[in-house]
Amino acid sequence: MDYFLHILILCFIYFIAVYAVDLLAGRSGLLSIANAAFYGIGAYTSALLAVHWGWPFLLTAPASMIVAAMASLMVSLPSLRLKGDYFVIATFAFQMILFSIFNNWMDLTRGPLGVPGIPQPNIFGWKVSSNLEFSILAGGFAVFAYTVVGLIVTSPFGRVLHAIREDEVFATGCGKSTLRYKVIAFAISSALAAMAGALYAHYITYIDPTSFTVMESILVLSMVIIGGAGSMWGPLVGAVVLVTLPEALRFVGLPAAAAANLRQIIYGALLVVMMMARPQGLVGRYAIGR
């Protein structure tokens, strides 16, 4: 039972991360591969505030979201004027810089040694220690992310994001400051990714830079592509498929090393098949990048 709850918790954490990416890539047409950087900012901010200053989770999580949103301005303000591939490369650069910081700023992050002993959340005396309790907490945060994204995309604000995604020149011609909307969308996306990171840190209770590499960004982006961009169900489906897939491979009985390689092969094959056969994903509305 504990094992299934563990899978459920991971799914909830990835739901949030995938909604964050979908808001940007699926809804606004901004393909970023820096989401693991913001996921990492959230995890480290929350972990360090809890470990060094004893802040409770209900403060560290919002603080991590604010820090990530502020950090997003560093990449969004200069790079959102870039178009298409150039923007992707700029976000890739940010991802690499952040990873280097996580890995090398020994005084703050302890580099490859990571941050151990991150306390489990304690919410008004409710010590979230069991997997069942944590699944309830993570589920609550996932519902929060779902609600925030849902409110945004069904509002006039979301209509502008949609217009930017489809035709930024038209949106500008309609009197919309597209840069402003993109900066805000990037900040919200970063904050949501940070929220997922904070949950992850307090769930695993240990973080190190290997959890926040560009591969993590690509994994989350793959979830959006496979589930489908621009829909409320796509991120859920994508996260469930890619979280449960490696777990399912465990039951095939392959040696661990072979299973790891097979997982990568299946990811790659799945992405190629999806791009060719159903570029809008399993339940999505749009093909990313088109």
Partner: protein, 263 residues
């Protein structure tokens, strides 16, 4: 070309609302606009014609902020627009259409028009999240958008995806989007190019109605009969300069214009 008195009056003595002073713009050393000066009154229909590459669309792009001029200034009444970004110029009261049709094909016709409404509360993040006053405003915007769609004859297509409309209907929709901004000045890039003659007639009729409602309409067009039908003044461009300017029946009968640009 005819003389242009700047400051607050157009060449015909009417109060000018849109003024361009000495506009120049070059691309890789080639002058697309070469010291253009223009003053247009508060209402009327004005056509800009000229061969491909004359600088007509560049002029529209500079006036609407999509391009920055190398030199010169653009004024709306007495407010300088030259360095403003395009969205601020729309808010100031100048809307435009594009030569290549630009719409959001996946959303409904109605939503395209609603998108173009200005200063929407629901476009602010906290309002979008809190939904304070958004529903009421959306209803008002929907109502206004339906009025505009009724004006252009697309009310019956309001819920269809914009991408499903015919080319001519999409031209009408871009006009409705311009009107949804409530701008007083409409700059239209080839509004009847490539559409069925009946649809072209309809669009020209709408432009005449808008002129009668007090709008200033400037349109680029290659369709000379269309220009003659609705424009009160035609400006001919070539190599980034105005080479003729006046009433269509006069300008379009000049042998050098006929020879060079109409054939």
């Amino acid at each position: 070309m005819a003389s242009t008195k700047l400051s607050r009056h157009g060449y015909d003595g009417r109060m000018s609302v849109l003024r361009c002073e000495n506009l120049s713009k070059s691309f890789d050393g080639t002058a697309a606009l070469d010291g253009l000066t223009l003053a247009l009154p508060t209402s009327g229909i004005f056509a800009i014609i000229g061969p491909n590459g004359a600088g007509k669309t560049t002029l529209l792009n500079v006036v609407t902020g999509f391009l920055r001029p190398d030199e010169g200034k653009v004024f709306l009444r007495d407010v300088e627009l030259t360095r403003l970004p395009p969205h601020r110029i729309v808010r100031a009261g100048i809307a435009r259409t594009f030569q290549d049709l630009r719409l959001i094909g996946l959303i409904s016709v109605l939503e395209n028009v609603m998108l173009a409404r200005q200063n929407q509360k629901g476009e602010r993040l906290w309002r979008a999240l809190a939904r304070v006053g958004v529903r009421t405003e959306e209803q008002a915007n929907r109502q206004r958008a339906m009025e505009l769609l009724g004006f252009v004859g697309l009310a019956g297509d309001a819920e269809r995806p914009a991408g499903a409309l015919s080319y001519g209907q999409q031209k009408l929709l871009t006009l409705a989007c311009c009107l949804a901004t409530e701008a007083g000045i409409l700059l239209l890039d080839e509004p009847v190019a490539g559409v069925h003659p009946e649809m072209a007639e309809k669009i020209l009729g709408l432009l005449a109605e808008l002129r009668n409602d007090g709008k200033l309409i400037v349109f680029i067009e290659h369709d000379i009969p269309a220009v003659k039908q609705v424009a009160e003044r035609v400006i001919v461009m070539d190599h980034g300069k105005f080479i003729a300017d006046g009433v269509p029946d006069d300008v379009l009968e000049r042998p050098e214009i006929l020879e060079a640009y109409i054939g």
